[in-house]
């Protein structure tokens, strides 16, 4: 498709005026609306030991601001129609592939779902042959405690090393050149229901990692490992006494409800915090200027809220911490006393945005509860929270008190089925990360449109088995489309365009300086749309449904490539990946009910696809 159409162009102008005045030149598309760290990264460039040039993709979120924006522009709307498959690679694993391929020093690194094999592919050779392969051989029993398929969200590259987590709770450091194991640290216990699925983030000399297992009554944490030795530097729990949460003198939450001593104990029934969840399986961002990391905490356990009266601190919220020692600086709770499994672990994109005529350092968070939050990232104040999906479970956010306003008629109860709770348990958006383009000023959000019926049941805690206490059935929200890919204007706080998809859009997104946005669908279409208009400009049918994170990089031949892993699965795709029985609507925590036609639309199979212009 040629050129920009008029409305798209207008939008660009508006966005540029509002937010990003300096992005006019197409070829030099340094994302200048971003916090200055993108160009001027004291860490990124030096610490990762790679060129300052933007042609690589060393961490799943692309940069510390988590933009997933590639400044490469060879592929654009005028030539994307001729985008072709350059090469492909079978991972030999059949479960859900959620990882981002990582590119550093002309090598691509891919980690598979369990059994967590890492492949290094040589980009200097035709067809990307395997340079080395590392088999982490996780305990097969760990598959039994992975709530939502045995996925892994990616490796990270820093300073000549590759870091990743295994399903059975090891964090491993490898030599990026040889694949040699440098260290392997045991950080969790599958017999408590702990697994690991998130991609680490490296900040200075720390590898930041978190646990999964919010459906098993684990106690959530974020841990920093020393990148050289693999030794644990600090660990911050997300329930329990302040000392364990690393809350001290420098903790200054913005709202009163987050102030007080040992709230991680007093906001729970006695001792329930020990098995209270609040895991870290999502995304971490880093602001070098403030030297702060930002990340969210998962749902409290069990799902049945009647067993845990109180705000259940510090679950379903966001922490700002010092990477050096982990001390908490501020916190905000998106969903206090969570009722619907609205984990607070989604990505936060760090931007400088005009708010009431003033430029503010913000973080933008498309939250699982259905609102796009804009928070002042210096203090945790909520500047806005606007719905981006159909919501019945809440009435909004009070911007004065920061309180989340639940709709009480949708509160789950034991022994009673509450219907039409929207969004459903996976939220309006689950883990699948958005992308931001400083050229359009828009955030591109892959997400789902699901509602649920939910009944609370008494959950019985037996370590190492699920601690949920709910019967759930999910189904499509209004319109009948279960997925949507939308463009959001974070300045105005409104939807710009949206593409309806049949199935939940469970893949990540990448935006490029060619003004294209890529994402994949669960029936296997990898799509490019015009970043301004949302018009579909190219698509390719992959062998299996796509739930991975697309990326774009510059190859050693100077050409721009786009890569994505296909391989259906994850919570939404468990019906195919694990062969579940469609007759039980409560299968896969109720997701099966919404996905009974997925087995007709796709089959399993992990495969990497790499695209380029001819």
């Amino acid at each position: 498709m040629t050129g920009r159409n008029a409305p798209g162009f207008l939008l660009l102008i508006i966005s540029l005026n509002l937010a990003f005045a300096a992005c006019a030149r197409r070829e030099n598309s340094q994302p200048s609306g971003l916090p200055n760290r993108v160009q001027n990264q004291p860490t990124g460039a030096q610490q990762t030991g790679v060129e300052t040039d933007d042609g690589q993709w060393t961490m799943p979120a692309k940069d510390y601001a988590s933009t997933r924006f590639s400044s490469l522009d060879q592929i654009n709307s005028s030539n994307v129609a001729s985008l072709k498959l350059a090469w492909s690679f079978s991972t030999s694993v059949l479960r859900g592939h959620e990882a981002a391929p990582i590119v550093a020093n002309n090598t691509m690194y891919v980690v598979t779902p369990y059994p967590n094999i890492v492949y290094a592919l040589d980009l200097t050779q035709p067809g990307g042959p395997v340079k080395w392969k590392y088999e982490s051989k996780p305990a097969s029993a760990s598959q039994g405690v992975a709530c939502c398929d045995v996925i892994n969200r990616g490796v990270v590259y820093a300073d000549g090393k590759i870091f990743f987590n295994t399903l059975d709770d090891y964090t491993i450091g490898l030599d990026a050149a040889s694949g040699k194991e440098l260290w392997k640290t045991h950080v969790g216990d599958i017999n408590k229901g702990e697994t690991m699925t998130m991609a680490p983030l490296v900040v200075k000399d720390k590898v930041l990692i978190g646990n999964s297992g919010g459906e098993f009554g684990v106690r959530g944490w974020l841990t920093a490992l020393d990148a050289t030795s693999g030794k644990i530097a600090w660990r911050a729990y997300h329930t329990g006494p302040d000392a364990d949460v690393l809350i001290g003198q420098n903790f200054h939450p913005f709202y009163t409800q987050d102030k007080g001593k040992d709230l991680g104990i007093s906001s729970w029934p006695a001792d329930a915090w020990r098995i209270g969840g609040g895991t870290t399986w999502g995304w971490i961002s880093y602001d070098p200027d403030q030297d702060l990391i930002f990340y969210g905490t998962g749902n409290p356990g069990p799902w049945n809220p009647e067993q845990r009266p109180g705000d259940n601190k510090w679950t379903c919220g966001i922490f700002a911490r010092k990477p050096e020692n982990g001390e908490a600086v501020w916190y905000y709770q998106f969903s206090p006393h969570d009722l619907h499994d609205y984990d607070g672990v989604n990505e936060q994109i760090l931007l400088d945005l005009p708010v009431n005529g003033q430029t503010r350092k913000v973080l933008v968070r498309p939250e699982r509860n259905g609102y796009v939050y804009v928070l002042d990232r210096t203090n945790g104040q909520v500047l806005s929270a606007n719905p981006y999906a159909y919501i019945t479970s809440s009435k909004g956010v009070d911007l004065n008190s920061g309180q989340f306003l639940y709709n009480e008629t949708k509160n789950p109860q034991a022994g009673k089925v509450i219907r039409e709770i929207c969004p459903a348990a996976p939220g309006a958006k689950d883990w699948q990360p958005s992308a931001f383009s400083p050229r359009t000023g828009l955030l591109y959000i892959p997400h789902q449109n699901l509602c649920m019926d939910m009944e609370g049941l008494e959950a019985n805690y037996i370590a190492g088995t699920p601690y949920v206490g709910a019967n759930v059935k999910m189904y499509a929200g209004p319109g009948g489309n279960r997925g949507e890919f939308l463009a959001w204007d974070p300045v105005k706080g409104e939807k710009v365009w949206a593409i309806q998809e049949k199935f939940p859009v469970w893949s990540g997104a990448v935006a490029t300086a060619g003004d294209l946005v890529f994402y994949g669908t669960m029936d296997g279409w990898f799509k490019a749309v015009d970043a301004h208009s949302g018009q579909l400009v190219w698509q390719f049918k992959c062998g299996s449904g796509i739930i991975g994170q697309p990326i774009s990089y510059r190859g050693p031949d100077g050409k721009q490539y786009v890569a994505v892993l296909a391989g259906v699965g994850g919570w939404s795709g468990a019906i195919v990946a694990a062969g579940l029985d469609p007759r039980d609507p409560t299968g896969a925590l109720g997701f099966v009910n919404a996905m009974t036609d997925l087995p007709d639309a796709t089959t399993k199979g992990g495969m990497l696809y790499v695209f380029a212009l001819p």
Binding site: S92, G144, Y461, A578, R583, T586
Partner: protein, 189 residues
């Protein structure tokens, strides 16, 4: 009320006490017609290839409860109490495989299922050895079989106390059990 429960559960950490209470309560109430067999580890034949010709007769340990509707409804209750539902949903599967379909990795006869529960299975089925009384394991095994219509209709549970999730075990379509052709372990290198 609820906070008291939660307190109890968490104070004991593992809710072991609760299990003991349940176990002893069941002993009191159980209506046992056949004494349970002592063996809990019957030999399971996992291969149709049996060198030297004539296949070995399968050692089948008779379930003491399969004709007992009371035990079956108990089995249904235990299936949620021991968090089987957390991993197998209401039979359609989640983390663990579907139990209401015709595919069986480790055998569909009562003794094999009994062994699955007691020994555990390598790809994530926990071993409940020492956690569930032998009689309750038989009740659970019988209930698991009722999910795919393997038991007499007048024995299988007819109703559910909770959300109506699928046809009751009494009305479920009978599936002819088949050994899974691709064991899970081989599917994932």
């Amino acid at each position: 009320m609820h906070s008291k429960k939660a307190k109890f559960v968490s104070r004991n950490g593992r809710a072991l006490l609760m299990l003991i209470v349940v176990v002893s309560a069941c002993k009191r109430e159980q209506r046992q017609f056949d004494p349970p067999p002592t063996t809990t580890n019957p030999a399971i034949v996992q291969s149709e290839l049996q060198p030297g010709g004539a296949p070995q007769p399968q050692t089948s340990t008779k379930s003491p409860v399969e004709e007992n509707a009371n035990a079956l409804s108990d089995g249904k209750r235990l299936f949620s109490l021991y968090n089987c539902t957390g991993c197998h949903a209401n039979g359609g599967g989640a983390i663990g495989p579907a139990l209401m379909d015709e595919t069986w990795i480790y055998g569909s006869d009562p003794a094999s299922i009994h062994s699955t529960i007691v020994e555990g299975r390598p790809n994530g089925m926990p071993s409940f050895r020492g956690k569930i009384s032998d009689y309750q394991v038989w009740e659970l095994s019988a209930y698991v079989r009722s999910l795919s219509g393997q038991l007499r209709k007048d024995v299988a549970p007819g109703r559910s106390d909770d959300m109506n999730v699928h046809r009751s075990e009494q009305r479920v379509e009978r599936k002819t059990p088949q050994q899974s052709t691709i064991p899970k372990a081989a599917e994932q290198p």
